[in-house]
Symmetry: C2
């Protein structure tokens, strides 16, 4: 087991990415890791288990997804990610070659983001269903002033990029539609990517303007907006024509009878912004390279529709958008 | 899904155990949790995935094991545990009743220990092998001066309690020997229990005497001692007659051809102590209620046997104890 771990994990992580400053990290192979507390503020911690099926998909794999997903959970809370711990559980018989590619993808994202891998666990479960792998990642970040996810009436809703691409790709893969033209041409792939390049400068410059921030993974954009509406007893009104959806996602969603609003993204941020600075933030977000960012709606007070999302209709009325039910696509992340 | 989580998790955790002081915790159902940093020192973090099979065993279940195991990983590093995040992955068809019992066991241990459950994840994997559950727990603790696991030549090795009970029980269960007399009479069961009542006062009073501390889970006592010997290039010499092993564990191990030295414990600490204070610490450990604690050996310099464990033979010689190979009992934790 220790040789396996040496080959699979330790040898792949550069020394400077094995600990946080002078703390105990991967080299010690101890039961835990330490982080010297030299910063002030709040620790932000997130844990997620990734079970995506298939583990390899256009645009990434379960390793890049696990690293990205946990980093994103921390950055959308306004924190700078500093360390990750992973726990990998595979069924006996899982391809060692695949496992190496998955671990490499995970580590490569962590290194690109300057995030240390300070510890973890690895277990093999007998049984022999060879496609079974679960990766659980814990991300740790620090924030002076974490984003508390409290959108208020009047706030504008900003979406940083095209939505639903990860969900659409995994859905197509799960349906066996692996050879669709847009996938083979690279026009349609998972959007899995860390949001640090968006969120860190944004929080640095416009923290006071942001009242809530999330990444719309399971449940998609509708899922995030519903949670906000329910949590704050408000009505979220969106202009569907403004929601950025790439052409192939739109087309395949229509033909499969799903709404891109409910499809998971893995590299998109949804922000609630104070109205008076929302246009300035939108401009800044675009300047940061997210040219497809849009203001797609706003938060309103409503006696009748507390806890709902509604879409504006062409004739000026409102149509209630259904909350996501269950998981539209299982094992999406 | 949100109703399931409400029923299964949220409703079971008392409000004061849902966050750390003013941080973001379970109530927010956010992507992550926060911990206000009002302490000085080091953060200690540990992640482990639990896959024990069967998930219910005499003395506990995968829920009590997951809570205990992560707490113990943090306390043996000299830290006070303050928060846990959990991630539960079950296969579709897993009994809801069993899941509730498992979650209750986990939460009950956290509450007993005053540890908040501040966040987590829950995923269902389709497939329908009903005994499949994986719980990954992340424990977070704080320590002024973490134990760095650096045993030195001359140090004495203390074991806090009978070893091998968890491993023996799970092994018997896996072999289908579920009706052995000692199990039905409650004489043999898993020792799964948090080590806070041992480690917190011990660190408070004798931190300077402790050069290393671990809990001997996978790989058992031999596993921990081997890691220490290899890591420090020393020889660990043990007196096997001093290793506390309960009678039924001894007997079943013998008849099954395994050595209790390699069997997992889930409520035992192994300490390396500076020789001059080791007897005083032993007395204090016993006073804390661990009457079966013993000094079982010592760390020595050795040119010939760097990185080995050896047992003293009755005629005064040394016999090398083999390192644990692979996992003696798979899915023990």
């Amino acid at each position: 087991m220790s040789e396996l771990l040496e080959k699979l994990i330790f040898s792949r992580v550069k020394p400077r990415f094995r600990r946080v400053s002078s703390g105990i990290g991967l080299d010690e192979a101890d039961d835990g890791a330490t982080i010297p507390l030299s910063f002030r503020g709040h620790l932000v911690v997130s844990v997620d288990s990734y079970t995506v099926n298939p583990p390899f998909f256009p645009g990434g794999n379960i390793g890049s997804l696990a690293a990205t997903g946990s980093i994103n959970d921390v950055v959308v809370m306004g924190a700078r990610p500093i360390a990750v711990l992973d726990s990998i559980v595979v069924e006996e018989g899982f391809s060692m070659r695949d496992l190496e590619v998955i671990v490499d993808s995970m580590i490569s994202i962590l290194e690109d983001e300057g995030v240390a891998l300070i510890g973890g666990d690895f277990k093999v479960m007998p049984r022999g269903q060879v496609d079974k792998i679960v990766i659980t990642t814990t991300a740790i970040g620090v924030a002076e002033n974490p984003i508390l996810d409290r959108p208020r009436p009047g706030d504008k809703i900003l979406v940083s990029d095209y939505v639903g691409e990860h969900g659409a790709v995994v859905l197509l893969m799960q349906l066996g539609l692996t050879n669709v033209e847009e996938i083979s041409k690279g026009l349609l792939k998972s959007d899995v990517k860390p949001l640090t390049k968006l969120m860190l400068p944004l929080v640095e410059k416009y923290r006071d303007c942001i009242t809530a921030a999330r990444d719309p993974t399971r449940g998609g954009l509708a899922g995030v907006l519903y949670e906000w509406a329910v949590k704050t007893g408000t009505l979220v009104v969106i202009d569907e024509s403004q929601v950025p959806v790439r052409e192939p996602v739109k087309r395949y969603s229509e033909s499969l009878g799903v709404d891109p609003l409910y499809l998971a993204s893995e590299g998109v941020a949804v922000l609630a912004l104070r109205s008076e600075c929302s246009e300035e933030v939108l401009e800044y977000v675009r300047k940061l390279g997210f040219e497809n960012a849009r203001i797609i709606g706003e938060v309103r007070e409503s006696e009748m529709f507390r806890g709902y999302i509604a879409a504006e209709t062409p004739v000026g009325g409102l149509r209630v958008v259904e909350p996501p039910r269950g998981e539209l696509v299982p094992r999406i992340c």
